[in-house]
Amino acid sequence: MYTQALNTRDTAGGADHDLRFQARIDAEDRIEPNDSMPDGYRRTLVRQISQHAHSEIVGMLPEGNWITRAPSLRRKAALLAKVQDEGGHGLYLYAAAETLGVSREELVDQLLSGRAKYSSIFNYPTLSWADIGMVGWLVDGAAIMNQIPLCRCSFGPYARAMIRICKEESFHQRQGYEIMLTLCRGTPEQKAMAQDALDRWWWPCLMMFGPPDTQSNHSDLSMRWKIKRFTNDALRQKFVDATVPQGHYLGLTFPDPDLHFDEADGHWRFGAIDWDEFRRVLTGDGPCNAERLDARRKAQADGAWVREAALAYAAKARAP
């Protein structure tokens, strides 16, 4: 046996240590769990990875809302598989965060007590089957923009989790777009359902990429430490450029009268985002914030006796 002290790297090594660490980052070295790292790096990673994990878990709820009403057996199975994947992604991410010295229990506790954030997009309701297509096409589309660069992030366990996640993610967005295609080629009611969904989801999806670069306060360090590879605005523009033609192909109209193609630089220019709405949703006043957390708290509370039973049985089995 050995003591905790042996495994405690002195991370308060000062400027010298931080320079050596930054040199490793700049050289595209992978940082692994037992490596020496600044406290700030560790803290930032725990925050970012756990936030990502919480988002996957909470994200199961708006989509899970339509499993029992999926309109065909194929769609039912596909949606269930997708939501299961999201649970799995949350699990991989909690596992990655745990290599940094925190337990999943602590992280879940932070979520359920309202101290931790998760992606604002999951505070919106899924009101029709078209919303399920929208979530796959737009929300997963936005997530993929963010996730692919993270496969090269500096922290090994996070990068490896992201590689695994990205492999599984590819069918999610295609599935969502295929749902939209089917609806837009369908009956007038289905087409109207699709348009209504876009009208409600477009702006919240643009907000997913976070505040404008001028306002984002975590960005600089995250970029320097190669935890974040592209800025919010850069990713947002990339998303718009990819998605608008896809929407036009569907025959849908984007709820933005200012949306236009800039011939000069080849980008789709869009109107002003309502950052007040973003702040409101982030701080708890979105349409579904309360019920999302209530659902997670209830699941945790209802499951307590199950977890206790499993641990009690294991303890009995170990006792002589």
Partner: protein, 91 residues
């Protein structure tokens, strides 16, 4: 707290088990089931090993500028790794 287990999978034509991540479970049987459900959903695995994370001893090759002599340590710092497991208490 629900113990942590590291999962290793050797795929169909693989030569060796590969570390794929971790699961939480109360005992080894449930850990094995969890590993199968989480890491082989798409039929990726054939042979699964689960090991209590705290039972793994690691070397630390990466940090050339270590302030300490490289020595056997845990694979990472986790709040539960420093509790003495019941069976060890009997030793």
């Amino acid at each position: 707290m629900m113990p942590l287990w590291e999962v290793f999978i050797r795929s169909r034509n693989g030569l060796a088990h590969k570390h794929v991540g971790s699961v939480h479970a109360a005992d080894a049987t449930m850990a094995l089931q969890a590993a199968r459900d989480v890491y082989t959903r798409r039929g990726e695995g054939l042979s699964i090993w689960v090991v209590p994370s705290a039972a793994i001893t690691a070397s630390d090759p990466a940090d050339r500028d270590a302030l300490f002599e490289p020595t056997g340590s845990k694979i990472y710092r986790h709040p539960t790794f420093y509790q003495v497991p019941d069976e060890v208490g009997h030793m």
